[in-house]
């Protein structure tokens, strides 16, 4: 089947199988920045923002997302013009293998849009579906805190 999506602000039309997940379709169409960690909705590595909400793209049928707005990590900042969350993750040492990072940053972004000055508890809660096996989350929490301070100061 065919469907159109708005991915990182660009309209696209893709063909896919009716049982394809959004993760499959994104990866098949040039979005390897969305990572496959478990394919069962439990690790969070494939998270994207779907109409602004954090979802596991492996737990969403592509067919059900047609016409919707999809944001991957490539849509929030670039290597030449990174988003404050991206630089905060870099500066705090919150990135080791980086496999969880794009999704983790999107989870943090979804939080900060709703709650620009989250408590640590709110940060932990917002990242509760995104596993990281490298960092123990310590510096990830620190990164979100730092980005939150910077982004509110900027506003």
């Amino acid at each position: 089947m065919k469907g159109s999506f708005v991915v990182n602000g660009r309209s696209v039309e893709w063909s896919f199988e009716p049982d394809a997940t959004l993760l499959d379709v994104l990866r098949d169409n040039g979005h390897p920045e969305v990572h496959r960690g478990c394919d069962e909705g439990s690790c969070g590595a494939c998270s994207v923002l779907l109409d602004g909400k954090l979802v596991n793209s492996c737990q969403v049928f592509a067919a059900s997302s047609t016409g919707k707005d999809i944001l991957t990590i490539a849509g929030i900042g670039t290597i030449h013009e990174p988003h404050p969350l991206q630089t905060a993750f870099v500066e705090t040492g919150a990135i080791q293998c980086g496999f969880c990072t794009p999704a983790m940053i999107l989870a943090a972004l979804a939080l900060l849009r709703k709650n620009p000055n989250p408590t640590d508890e709110a940060i932990r809660s917002a990242l509760d579906g995104n596993y990281c096996r490298c960092t123990g989350y310590v510096k990830i929490i620190e990164a979100v805190r730092l980005a939150s301070r910077r982004m509110s100061a900027h506003d």
Binding site: P18, D19, G41, S47, N56, Q59, V60, A63, D128, N130
Partner: protein, 275 residues
Amino acid sequence: MSTVQWYFPDTIDEAIMYLGREKVVPHGGGTSLLKSGIASLNGLVDLSRLGLDSLKMDKGILETGASLTYGEIADSLANLHPDCILGKALGAAASTPMRNRITAGGSASVFPLWSDLIGPMAVLNASICVEGKNAGTYDLNSWLADRSLQQGSLIISLFYPDPVDWISYYHRETRVGFDYPSFTVSILARKNGSRVEKVRVAVSGGLDRVRRLGELEEKLSGGDVSAVDKIDVKRMATMEFGRKPSGSPEYLSEMAALQVERGLRTVLLGEVVSR
């Protein structure tokens, strides 16, 4: 190569027409369908255009549309009625990205292992509003007793009479924070001074899926809060469990009873056992 057909109806009638066909099922958020697989299905009816996504409080009755996600319900209730057990339960279920996909209707259709909906529905005396072949409003027990009610039918919304102004307590027994519960304990109470006006207790996860603890409710309602110390709460809260990855049937059974007791002490006596 999947041959499953997607339908995107704009009206409930249209949706129900599709659902009358062989091996055609509704699609809410897709999380249960992705677990169970859709290879054997002929069609999926996407509910997103039906407008079943409102949360209303009317004359003290809460209605949640079937397409609302756990996340949406929890967020709305956290703002409007932070004491409502439904919001507490759904806001703690699964994980943030999963809560953004799991819908109330989907959960009420399959009540998956990891559902945090069933306990609150039991204590809130919730009912399930259905259109289609078996149109009507069903209480939880009749709904659970007859899976054939779902054939050719669609869950439209869930009703919760009298959902707020309770002291509420929700416990989900999990191994780590992001886990499905091996059991849940839902408690509602109304007190007047030290007099217990009404108590409702439900445990999910046992062999019965969900059980209201009628004897316990009866013994406590109408009496003094101190009754919780005098009656054998654990006996009345004991039920059978199957083996689960989180523990043996005996352990889970004992823990559920213990957590009922702790919950009651929290609700009635204000004691808090930190976890």
